[in-house]
Symmetry: C3
Subunit: 279 residues, 3 copies
């Protein structure tokens, strides 16, 4: 079987929209496997989708075609794009949703929102070739009419350059970056998951082994990083633990509970890590 098509949208699960996209895909390529990454991105939350894609794309097989439909500008002049990367391809609106994915290929990602050059290992295209679309094309459901059929044609072996015209820049909505100063790392929560684990923008490499780091969030202090949700280290604030999560970033959690609920915080909440002095 060819590599899968992977769908990420803010469509929710109660409407037929996702199923219809799958019907359109299978009408063009009956052999392809289709996987859901998630359809519960908050409506129009481009930053959330960008994080989810950035944290996930390296776990999919070579050749995977990702379709991303978080698209507040559907039907306007925003571009529909194809990003052809060394391992996988992305079809998405050009609204910043691919920023975290792109960051993995950039040596010096811009700090401010705007546009970014397509990295040299990648190729960008604006989708313009209407023969690969479903007609009539609606103004409000490009997932069904443009992205799904384009993905199906790609999965059949149509070459990326056949789908549109080369594009040298993409819209860039970077993640907030942590700041290091005076032995501290100042970051923030960027994602809160189903368990209420708070995932920050502070990567493992800024903390080191971390056993004696102190983590502060909303007036609470957590002494030392754990290695699992349930290890036996002592802790001044018994409910909260800090650890390097499966995404490779600092996470704040409550074992068998929800840190998001306990602290009543979400994305944007400041997090401070105090590192031990190096002797």
């Amino acid at each position: 079987m060819a590599p899968p098509i992977v769908l990420t949208t803010d469509f929710g699960l109660s409407d037929p929209y996702v199923g219809v996209m799958k019907g359109v895909i299978l009408g063009i390529n009956p052999q392809v496997g289709i996987i859901d990454l998630t359809h519960l991105i908050q409506p129009q939350n481009i930053r959330q989708a960008a994080f989810v894609l950035g944290a996930s794309h390296r776990f999919f097989p070579q050749g995977t075609v990702h379709v991303v439909v978080v698209d507040p500008g559907v039907g306007t002049q925003r571009k529909a794009v194809l990003l052809d990367m060394p391992r996988v391809k992305f079809l998405a609106p050009d609204n910043g949703v691919l920023s975290h994915v792109l960051a993995d290929y950039l040596d010096d990602p811009p700090e401010r929102p705007g546009v970014v050059a397509v990295p040299p290992q990648c190729h960008g295209y604006q989708l313009t070739e209407t023969q690969y679309w479903l007609h009539p094309v609606s103004n409000t459901f490009h997932g069904r009419d443009i992205f799904a059929p384009a993905a199906a044609h790609l999965s059949l072996g149509v070459q990326p350059e056949a789908l549109g015209t080369p594009l040298s820049e993409l819209v860039w909505v970077p993640a907030p970056q942590p700041v290091e100063e005076n032995g501290q790392v100042l970051g923030e929560v960027i994602y809160s998951d189903h368990f209420g684990n708070l995932i920050t923008n502070i990567p493992e490499r800024l903390i080191g082994p971390g056993s004696s780091a102190r983590v502060g969030i909303k007036g609470h202090r957590i002494a030392g990083l754990r290695t699992t949700f349930h290890d036996s280290s002592g802790n001044a604030d018994v409910d909260l633990v800090a650890l390097i999560g499966s995404h490779g970033f600092l996470e704040i959690a409550v074992p068998d509970g929800s840190a998001a609920t306990l602290l009543n915080v979400g994305p944007g909440e400041p997090v401070k890590v105090s590192l031990p002095r190096q002797s």
Copy 2:
């Protein structure tokens, strides 16, 4: 790969019911692909399921087998039926859930609920051949015991007429129809989606180009139809927009927001369109 089996139920996603249906299908036809249309039809809401199926069925490949389990009368004398249409097949309880799909094949659909003759291009069957069922057959889960195995056998090439006895009529629960009078179209909201977009029963053909139509709902007036959620037309009521949605019907929406929440309305809410006088 053969055409897919598509599942539509009110089973929700927390219980194992949908997964068990898939297990039964794959036990009979290990090769078939299975797609979810949605499992979040409101419990026993036949009208909602009928709309979802009517709006979606034409996007699935030729030969698709749809399984619909919104079945308040499971285990009673209501029939289990197979509707064999020119493009796709439906397995469902005979309770009206196929009415919107049938309407696409009827020249003059009845206005009132009751029964309707199976259209001449289609064939109807009552499922009676128990050798295609899973035994023992429960009284409460025909999705698992009758519909899923019947769909799997159909996908293996069993002929429709082998599954039961011909049926000439099906239960009919029509959508409310819009009324035209004095240059106005009087309709209603028939579906509210995940984004809070309000989809009405007023089709595009009753409005025409629509740029100067006025739309009224719950005391609000919307001047002119948009072509996208975000185009730049002026509007007396800044939050609300009206447009022809991807289903082909008039929709009322709030860009980057929820019209259902803003207006606090849902299915059944009256909608009035005033058309410009033709010169």
Copy 3:
């Protein structure tokens, strides 16, 4: 196509965790079909997952590989195990989540929690062979790093004994058992489904035909078992009905409504069945 891999987790549907597991599986075995049983097990609710698996496993094809990730002890000393049964295989943390499945193969299941010997028809293994894992192995997401890749390798034909070392005992968290005394059966609700149907631990065989049994729950009495949600038997308490559900256990339901909501009860609620005296 080979038998499917079936996923059961408490990961929810909003995060990319389930999709990432599927990506890892398809990177190892691009041909395998993957089915979701449910991902809405309540976080860390081992008993709920155990019930769902016990009620479902016999509906999946011979050779199915089940992956279960309800894993509060992830990263601790709890074992990761493979249970190789006559029909299907299970990969899971060793925390009791397989207890209901195991019970189907035990002549005399222990009444108390603890450990239980792997039944003679089955084989148990502790997953220890790290060459079948995804590296680096995180401490918090063994679904992605251990269970998903092990399942993919099994589906490719790797022998169970290659994945680890034999294991003779598994953690045992039995369902509460009903008690028979003085012509009564004393049980309890063990699962409340999406419709609000209350599924008890009282199996059909303890009630017999049941037409004249009386069922008591939270001060309500239900006279006689129905055969469907909507049959016509008389009933002193008009809203509630009792019947043998599709799982084979006594269920308490409200036709077109929710017994869980009406009674405001859930798992643990006592249920008493009074049997007619046998002449």
